[in-house]
Amino acid sequence: MTDNNELIRLSAAALAEKLAAREITAVEVTQAYLDRIAAVDGKVHAFLHVNADEALAVAAEVDAIRAAGGAAAEELHVLAGVPIAVKDLIVTIGQPTTAGSKILEGWHSPYDATVVERLRAAKMPILGKTNLDEFAMGSSTEHSAYGPTRNPWDLDRIPGGSGGGSAAAVAAFEAPLALGTDTGGSIRQPGAVTGTVGVKPTYGGVSRYGAIAMASSLDQIGPVSRTVLDSALLHQVIGGHDPRDSTSLPDPLEDLVAAARTGHVEGMKIGIIKELHGEGYQAGVENRFNESLELLKAAGAEIVEVSCPNFKYALGAYYLIMPSEASSNLAKFDGVRYGLRVLPEHGPMTIERVMGATRAAGFGDEVKRRIILGTYALSAGYYDAYYGSAQKVRTLIQRDFDAAFAKADVLISPTAPTTAFKLGEKLNDPLAMYLNDVATIPANMAGVPGLSLPGGLADEDGLPVGIQLLAPARQDARLYRVGAVLESLLEAQWGGPLLDKAPSLTAPSLSDSSPAASTAGAASSHGGSH
């Protein structure tokens, strides 16, 4: 019998094998994760809601099917019984979906997102909903209306954002897998700063139906995990065509799991993007990045340098396109069909004034900033100069990628310019916060897939560094092929997974008694059934 502490540290792939061999049961695994959530989430605050009863029921169903044997047991999905957490931007029947916003507090969706339907079809127990920056707007999860998530490596630091909850849940062994969404880096940057793996698939590669939209032409759902293979396994569950998303690619899904299992880099050309390292990147980030390049070279890859001169405009163009689309997408929160309704304190009770009061009370500062910025960029007189120009920059970024991929099979860069910063450090400086996404945004602008994996710990602060791989559109398999090789080379150096070096969170330590940690505990009771 594997004890609980061993069980929660197994990869999803290892859990799947043990479940299939009936060495462990899905109920044991699910209960072990629920116990871990109960033990550490007061400190981490990765979850906004814990879905214990339903998760255990699904696990018990998987165990019953396996015990009965026969065709039904044969037909079980490889990940059947492997639990998962879902970012609270993705709608689920039977659990609240808040998008991290007061405007949706307590709201229950009448339908499941397509990705959630696919998790249910695979019989993966859903552990709960994870915290995020309000409407996925942020890079630190500090913009959640329900309090920040904390980085399991250092509880005084940010877990990245917007998907800090999903990344922290996986890093703190509160879930083996999670779903994230990535509009400008919200899967990859949290992965980088928490020492976990995150993948933004090719735009259209995973259905967005049921993901509450921020910027429809940039948003993408993707996997969050502790290993490259685990992300491939999850990607394979959620990927593929969905007629309910008109931007869903009709292409059949490649065998991503095979790509992760048979990874190779020999003879491959790997391009360093001149504009995405060096100045502005923390020394420890640069060091780990250079070490990864040496490992890939030693494994037979050819390292080439590519230049993407228009990437310098990507951040600016992103902060015009994203708020423009967001201001339009968020117009639906009008206090009529769902969510909060706030009545004005005095004066006439018209719909306009109710809307104004509702949105004033329901949206946080960052959401308001982006709605105003988007409304500005789309105004008559400014449209061509701002939104129009930003769309042209998008073309230039795509051309840069085309030229780079003519010279290299995949591109490589640090995922984020720095390691995790302190909570509060950048909260009052929106521009400094936006700069965290400088290396991840170009992929969203062009629709190409990207993967972040742990590259080691920075010398100066001992915190995780992320390595980003980028591939041409529809070539997600390349990310898994190269990512799996780099991961195994790095783990051979470290003598095991990077997360082995993370604090246990259950051993008594100084941070246990800090007032900040107990505030997180109080906030985590929101909506939770744990």
């Binding site: 709201w107 009448p110 339908y111 090719t202 735009y203 032409s217 940039l218 008109s246 931007t247 009709p250 600016g316 163009a317 902060y319 015009l320 117009a331 009529v336 069909r337 769902y338 969510g339 309704r341 004005p344 006439p348 009770m349 018209t350 719909i351 306009e352 004034r353 809307m355 104004g356 009061a357 949105r359 004033a360 308001k368 900033r369 709605i371 105003i372 910025l373 409304t375 500005y376 105004s379 400014y382 100069a385 701002y386 120009s389 930003a390 769309q391 042209k392 920059v393 998008r394 073309t395 230039l396 795509q398 929106p430 521009l431 936006y434 969203n444 602008m445 062009a446 629709g447 559109a473």
Partner: protein, 98 residues
Amino acid sequence: MAAINRDDVAHLAQLAHIEMSAEELDRMAGELAVIVDSVKSVSEAAGDDVPATSHPIPLTNVFREDVVGHTFTAEQSLSGAPDAYEGRFKVPAILDED
């Protein structure tokens, strides 16, 4: 391009249906001025010959069969509404009249 000022923000907030206090307008105007200034260079990046990209991977003629698909019951549709009456959304007055 003109800088963004407090009056602009007040007008935009009205267009976006977000009530803002005087203090909020002051703060927002300051923050947005910095952000707008930092994104200005975008307008100089591309010439007239560069076409705009609205979607990263364009698909054309995405249609489905013209048949009734999944529909929600009135009860499901109204389940999240702040106010409803006889199977309909109940909306505050549209016009500012008695």
